[in-house]
Symmetry: none
Subunit: 138 residues, 2 copies
């Protein structure tokens, strides 16, 4: 087996380990914000307004799932929808102030967990790791 193949084995195994752990702990960290809701809010924060379809495509979710999640987030007052004046089919989603606040709380506690876990890593390794993960998920 080449070094690259060995690396692929390792990546697979470690990703699986991670998936297991994430599955086990996701619900416990923040009961008020599911993993998906959190992800969606985070996306909105980063990219500003976007469409439900974009979210669905990006996270490989069915549009119906996104529709319901967004509806729940809107009921909870965390996101706002407005119709795109240029295309009346489109709803542009945005965080509300409350959404921003909750997101920042959850963010902080998750960040603390990751920071704890990643403490002692050289900054250069952190940025490279981040790049790899992004590329993997792209």
């Amino acid at each position: 087996m080449t070094a690259a193949e060995t690396a692929i084995e390792t990546i697979q195994r470690e990703m699986t380990v991670f998936a297991r752990r994430a599955r086990a702990s996701a619900g416990r960290m923040h009961p008020e914000l599911s993993l998906v809701s959190y992800t969606l809010l985070g996306h909105l924060e980063e990219r500003g307004g976007c469409r439900a379809t974009d979210l669905a495509a990006h996270y490989a979710l069915d549009k119906s799932t996104v529709s319901r999640q967004v509806a729940a987030l809107e009921r909870a007052g965390l996101v706002a929808r407005r119709v795109d004046p240029d295309d009346h089919r489109v709803q542009v989603l945005d965080l509300t102030e409350a959404g921003r606040e909750i997101l920042s709380q959850v963010h902080d506690s998750r960040r603390a967990a990751f920071r704890e876990r990643l403490s002692g890593w050289p900054p250069e390794d952190l940025t490279r790791f981040a790049t790899y993960l992004t590329r993997y998920n792209a």
Copy 2:
């Protein structure tokens, strides 16, 4: 925010994305074996016979959930249960031959998926990525 903090943000987000996708796609790749089932079988393969309660504790699942999953796996002929002669409350779980076989197939196809996904990565990036993941999970 420093570069390192930004990287931590990204790692956190991308890991989350990955975890969600892994779960969603696991069902599609192998309809006959959910991520949890796969994990449980893998556990049995590694450690040989164990109790349902051990699985529940190890994966932070409710014992009822494990009970149902194990029941399904037994119906599918992938695991066998036998009563512990020393304690009749206990059922010792073990892979059947069919279970071992399916597990190895799923293993292979997962490996193929990873290989596909990572094709085109320079070998040194693969090895570094593998190193980072291992370090992260350690």
